[in-house]
């Protein structure tokens, strides 16, 4: 491992989080130390408008035309054959008749954005949100499409967005990891934890999983129950003895910075042990906050707890938090993949997501964090405006909706449009690349410059694509 002469203590400290943080991240932290950042944070390549991201990922494909993408034609043609012109190729089924949303639509806010009654709380936030109703997926299959929204590629093995941002910007704290993932209590999304892997980036950039609300929320954070020989006293004395052993070992081996970095990794681990329980304990939150996030309603409790935990992590300097809504595509339905019964399944998922997501926006706003925190809501693809088996909707890779809110995002805007059916993207079709490029841009990163060489290619989150959507930047 190359060593350097710049700020050795600081550098070793960073290595303890990962045995070699990128130079750019180091430079960033050194600048932060120097107090250069002030109120506005500096970016990696240009001034940043935001410093943190919370991503809400709807697993299983959340329907655009039942929440955000209002199409009067579906109501007009309800029950008639679905004939948008050309062959309609569906994932599982043959196209059924046109199916309007079972939820009502109304305009909201000053922007007058149409929202369905499935998301009444989010409807109250539209003036803070920028919608992208012309998203297109390269795959119509959950696994590859979920990879694509996370990593920019449809095959496994690539770093996820959170890992790239951690790699590019490093940490805002030396108490907590820079990239944290809060999986759904019911299980993992398609592809499992490889959705938030560091891929070929150094391991410290991979998402640290926190199982909010569980006894062992972070794996191996504390000794297991079986460790009856470990006591607080043995733990404290042991770490001192360990350091002594390591210092003797190091004294005979000068010049190897890894040996000191490892000593500091243990100090860092101890800090995480003392910080994490406090961060994860929401007991001190007010009743008003509990109500805001819906912690006392069994439908919203899980996603609500994780949105609240996300806020607590962001407050304490975690750079990127990913919160999952929904697990895998099994039965009974436990995610947004409503092939069989949209009203029941989307009804449940929508209710569980809507209030906590809106609460997060409000709460970040009232704490003053929303101005430099991006809320990024997405899913792997959309759903068809026609019915599948009378009550469900099949996959739609041709158009779906994502939205952004917060740091640097122009609220009350809509970029692009789908056709009159919400079947295909029509105006300004965009891919994950463009949204990823835009989020990186807001963080002060030029997506074409954030690269890592792997197997012969300078890899990027945005592959060889991506355009920053300047229209939604405030």
């Amino acid at each position: 491992m190359p060593t350097d002469n710049v700020a050795p203590t600081r550098r070793r400290l960073l290595q303890a989080w990962g045995g070699g943080l990128g130079w750019i991240a180091l430079a960033h932290l050194l600048r932060r130390d120097a107090g250069a950042s002030g109120g506005q944070s500096e970016g990696l390549h240009h001034p940043a408008k935001a410093r943190r991201v919370v991503q809400l990922f709807m697993s299983g494909a959340a329907s655009q035309c039942d929440m955000f993408d209002y199409k009067p034609l579906l109501i007009e043609r309800s029950g008639q054959p679905f004939d948008p012109g050309g062959k309609v190729e569906l994932f599982q089924s043959s196209p059924g008749p046109v199916m309007p949303s079972p939820w009502d639509w109304a305009q909201h806010g000053e922007s007058g954005k149409w929202m369905s009654s499935l998301v009444p709380h989010l409807a109250g936030c539209v003036d803070r949100m920028a919608f992208f109703p012309s998203m297109v997926s390269k795959s119509n299959v959950h696994g590859p499409a979920t990879f694509m929204q996370n990593t920019g590629f449809t095959v496994p093995g690539f770093p996820s967005m959170g890992a790239w941002i951690s790699y590019g910007l490093g940490s805002l704290t030396d108490q907590l990891p820079s990239f944290v993932v809060l999986p759904d209590a019911r299980g993992f999304a398609p592809n499992g934890p490889s959705n938030h892997s560091a891929g070929f980036l150094p391991a410290q950039h991979q998402g640290t999983m926190i199982r909010a609300g569980r006894e062992n929320a972070i794996h191996d954070l504390f000794p297991p129950r079986s460790a009856d020989f470990v006591t607080p006293a043995s733990e404290q004395a042991g770490l001192e003895v360990l350091e002594q052993l390591n210092r003797v070992h190091m004294a005979d081996r000068p010049g190897d910075s890894r040996l000191a970095a490892r000593i500091e990794a243990y100090e860092m681990a101890a800090r995480l042990q003392s910080t994490a329980p406090e961060v994860l304990d929401v007991g001190g939150e007010s009743q008003a906050t509990r109500q805001l996030y819906g912690l006392d309603d069994p439908i919203t409790a899980d996603f609500g707890l994780r949105c609240l935990t996300a806020r607590r992590l962001l407050e304490r300097g975690v750079r990127f938090v990913q919160v999952w809504s929904g697990a895998d595509n099994g039965f009974p339905r436990r995610n947004w993949d409503s092939h069989e019964d949209l009203l029941t399944d989307h009804g449940m998922m929508g209710r569980s997501m809507d209030q906590p997501a809106a609460a997060l926006i409000h709460d970040l706003g009232s704490l003053g964090l929303l101005e430099d925190t991006i809320v990024y809501w997405t899913t792997e693809f959309g759903r068809m405006p026609c019915s599948q088996g009378a009550k469900g909707r099949d996959h739609n890779p041709f158009t779906f909706t994502s939205w952004l809110a917060g740091g640097g995002v122009k609220g009350g805007t809509v970029y692009g449009a789908s056709d009159e059916w919400s079947y295909k993207a029509m105006d300004n079709p965009i891919h994950s690349y463009d949204l990823h490029a835009t989020v990186l841009h807001l963080l002060g990163i030029d997506h074409t410059q954030l690269t890592y060489r792997h197997n012969g290619i300078d890899r990027r989150l945005t592959d060889v694509h991506g355009h920053v959507i300047t229209e939604v930047i405030s």
């Binding site: 119509n140 499992g192 891929g199 391991a203 079986s226 003895v241 070992h249 490892r262 243990y266 197997n455």
Partner: protein, 835 residues
């Protein structure tokens, strides 16, 4: 770790200092691209139409049966230009003529004297180090008397050039620990250490090396390295990450091959085409587990309907994985960079890439039957081939049946659809519990569905001509008979390997003949160009880049030809690649520090002559890797101490010139295996089904739960190479120590030191359990705390304890128990690093 910008600057620097390549003029690259896109499919190297290859510019100059295709400086006299220009150009014979702009580019390039092709007709690619023909370099003279063998003389030559001096030889306790981890992945026992340290007879070191190379633990250690490189995993990855419970025979094959020192050329050929080349040898089939090793999109292959775009995409990416794995593993080339366009930096054409895809156009990844007894295996595979043929004929008739119509047939088809709908409707919704009523309904519907489909097929068959009906009957009987023949053979086993025939499931069916592969404009399945035929990289001198095999009728010929192309003694990439990998695993860094990329964006070798010398040693030494290990391990270079010296450090802080040994961090497997070894818990049984170190729950997407695995169970005691390797969710303990991600080709492990890793080594249940057993072992035959501590240090660190250590740890043990001492030793830096 360097930052992105640092890496770029470094590669630019290396390109300046290390490159011997002539710059390829832009105009030549343009022409190369045109030829690759429109001409090379027919005019491929070593057997193209009219004896002409246009695979390289040098080939164009050499010409074909009508003479040279180009006359530098004289466009009008150049046959190539004559054929492609004019109002009705003769070439290309199919598709649109070349555009005016393309013709003009060729004309201008010829007029300019065809830059980029020298007078001998050599291709610019020849000048790049990894493509240059491989010859044994002469060994530098022995300078200072430090050298023990040829390796040292190459290294010493660089030392004197750079003003460096080698480190003294490491002491024996250091050497035996280094060797033991390096070759076996395990710590030496205190007895082994003592006997080596006390052995004053000559040849003690050599005997130690030979003994370790002969140990079965060697194949487990080095086999694991190979499994990194080929991205071996035991679940499919993606959504619905199904377990592959029959992948392990390939893992055992790899271990056997290393232990048996299988000649490298044979090792290559077996893995790519063993089923074709040695049809009567079970080893040949098992070896093709290599082709099947990578991830597989279950939904894309088995659930998507035939003819959809996503299905095509799934197959394209599946072949891409096979091509990338094959070429990265064996030739250290990044051919996968040429999927959308010609390689931007290396002489790899997009046409080459699709020629490689065509090689794999008829294989899938699936379970295959095999038999340990070669005679039975030959019989079994023969029956299997006959089954394939019969099924293929049956599939043709079934396709006709699917087309058949009548009123009754369409009534039955509608009923089938309705049944699926009813089944879907009866499934419980969120919050609902499945009722006995709806379960009974689904059972009834399932039965009816079978009846309806059977009736439908009977009616459809009856509508076909009588001879077809008879053939259908005969084939059905034949398949039944073949199935019972196969079932009667003793000792049937299963391996997940390359497959041209398998039990179909869902929409996953065999390719009865290889699927057509086309060049794809920008890599898009929606923009197919010419059909591609099997071949490899055009830029390797002396080897035909298009195999001339017609994979359309004979699937195996393409793979056999690729296996021959790669393992050819004239292929310089292959031999440099393996020599560099072996060096990498001995020193922690390759002579070329990008073991999977020998192209212009990779690292040039620090000691190119040494690399070539080693490559020739393997190639001309019967492909023996053990011989190469021995050469390296006996060198003075390898035996150096790892300590830093400030004077040398100023010249070469990164130790690129090998003035000391590198200190290396133990990898995940070595850490875990050491825990088992020092605590006396290791089960050294070899091979067989993998140890599942998680709680498995089958489901739509299976659940692999590591948190509830019992670390005291027998499955926990197997060596790490026998762990069951899940793709979607890895063992968190191993992951914290940078174990290989089986979704990635991993030529080199990262070596991080994170807080999460510290927590894993402190608190993982495996460490706790091991600490307990390790403490028990420390107590064995040691009467007091001090001697128990001394025994612990000897077991874990392979040396005697110092007095200070003993008193420090004994005092800790007195207050907090020996288990806590055990846990501290496991967490020490000395445990994790090898000098």
């Amino acid at each position: 770790m360097l930052s992105p910008s640092g890496v770029r600057a470094l590669s630019a620097l290396l390109a300046l200092s290390g490159s011997v390549a002539a710059a390829v003029p832009e105009s030549a690259r343009t022409v190369q691209t045109i030829l690759a896109g429109r001409c090379v499919a027919c005019h491929y190297a070593g057997g193209g139409q009219a004896g002409l290859s246009l695979a390289s510019l040098g080939d164009a100059l050499r010409g074909g049966s009508s003479g040279p295709a180009i006359v530098p400086g004289n466009p009008t006299a150049s046959l190539l230009l004559q054929r492609i220009s004019g109002p009705r150009p003769a070439m290309p014979p199919v598709g649109e003529p070349l555009s005016d702009k393309q013709v003009d580019a060729v004309a201008r390039w010829i007029k300019a004297g065809a830059p980029g092709v020298d007078s001998a007709g050599e291709d610019p690619a020849d000048a790049w180090w990894s493509f240059a023909p491989l010859n044994r370099p002469s060994v530098p003279a022995d300078g200072g008397g430090w050298s023990r063998n040829e390796i040292d003389r190459f290294v010493a030559a660089k030392h004197s050039e750079m003003g460096l001096r080698p480190a003294p030889e490491a002491d024996r306790t250091t050497l035996i620990r280094r060797l033991s981890y390096n070759l076996l992945g395990l710590p030496p026992s205190p007895e082994q250490v003592r006997s080596f340290v006390e052995d004053s007879s000559s040849g003690a070191y050599e005997r130690l090396v030979d003994g370790m190379l002969a140990s079965p633990r060697y194949g487990e250690r080095w086999g694991r390295h190979w499994l990194d490189v080929v991205h071996y995993g035991e679940s499919h990855g993606y959504d619905k990450d199904k377990a592959r419970r029959n992948a392990w025979p390939y893992r055992d094959y790899v271990i056997r091959s290393f232990n048996g020192d299988k000649p490298y050329a044979r090792f290559i050929r077996e893995q790519i085409a063993g089923d074709v080349l040695w049809p009567a040898d079970p080893e040949g089939l098992i070896a093709t587990g290599f082709v099947a090793a990578g991830p597989w999109d279950y939904v894309g292959h088995a659930e998507l309907r035939e003819g959809t775009k996503d299905k095509q995409l799934a197959r394209l990416l599946d072949r891409d994985d096979m091509v990338a794995a094959t070429m990265s593993t064996f030739t250290s080339l990044t051919v996968h960079c040429a999927r959308c366009h010609d390689h931007k930096f290396d002489p790899i054409l997009q046409a080459d890439y699709y020629a490689l895809q065509a090689v794999f156009a008829g294989v899938d990844r699936a379970d295959q039957p095999y038999f340990d007894d070669p005679e039975v295996h030959a019989k079994g595979r023969d029956v299997w081939r006959k089954m394939r043929k019969a099924h293929e004929a049956l599939a043709r008739i079934e396709a006709q049946m699917a087309e058949a119509t009548s009123d009754e047939i369409s009534r039955l088809d509608k009923r089938s659809e309705k049944i699926s709908q009813q089944v879907a409707d009866s499934l419980p919704k969120v919050g609902e519990v499945d009722t006995e009523e709806s379960i009974a309904l689904r059972t009834a519907l399932g039965k009816e569905s079978v009846q309806v489909k059977t009736r439908r097929n009977e009616l459809a068959l009856a509508r076909l001509p009588v001879p077809t009906q008879e053939e259908h009957e005969a084939l059905t009987l034949e398949i039944e008979s073949l199935e019972s023949q196969l079932g009667a053979l003793p000792g049937r086993r299963t391996v997940y390997s390359a497959a041209t025939y398998f039990e179909p499931y869902g929409t996953f069916t065999p390719a009865w003949s290889p699927r057509p592969v086309h060049l794809l404009a920008k890599g898009s399945v929606e923009a197919p160009l010419e059909r591609a035929l099997p071949g490899a990289v055009s830029a390797v001198a002396g080897l035909a880049a298009r195999f001339g095999t017609d994979s359309r009728s004979d699937e195996g010929s393409g793979r056999a030809a690729l296996a021959a192309w790669i393992s050819d003694s004239r292929n310089p990439l292959t031999w440099r690649s393996i020599a560099n990998r072996v060096w990498h695993y001995h020193f922690g860094r390759g002579l070329a520090d990008s073991p999977n990329d020998f192209g212009r964006m990779g690292s040039a070798p620090t000691h190119p002559e040494l690399l070539d010398w080693l490559a020739v040693e393997v190639r001309d030494g019967g492909g023996s890797l053990k011989r190469l290990h021995r050469k390296i391990l006996l060198s003075a270079t390898y035996r150096q101490a790892s300590s830093e010296r400030s004077g040398q450090r100023a010249t070469d802080a990164g130790n690129r010139w090998l003035w000391r040994m590198n200190r290396n961090r133990l990898d995940a497997e070595a850490v875990r295996d050491t825990l088992l070894a020092i605590s006396g818990q290791m089960d050294l049984s070899m091979g067989g089904p993998s140890a599942e170190q998680f709680v498995f729950k089958d489901d739509h997407s299976p659940v692999y739960d590591y948190a509830h695995f019992d670390v005291a169970s027998p499955a926990a005691r197997r060596r790490s190479v026998y762990r069951f390797l899940v793709r979607s969710v890895q063992d968190p303990f191993m992951e914290s120590l940078d174990c290989a991600d089986p979704s990635l080709l991993v030529p080199r492990r990262s070596s991080t030191l994170t807080a999460v890793q510290a927590l894993a080594l402190l608190n993982d249940p495996l460490v706790i359990e091991s600490s307990r057993h390790f403490a028990d072992r420390m107590r064995e035959g040691a009467p007091d705390l001090a001697s128990q501590v001394e025994r612990g240090i000897r077991l874990a660190l392979g040396r005697d304890a110092s007095d200070e250590e003993t008193s420090l740890l004994a005092s800790h043990g007195r207050q907090h128990g020996l288990e806590n001492v055990a846990r501290l030793i496991i967490n020490s830096n000395e445990f994790l690093f090898v000098d």
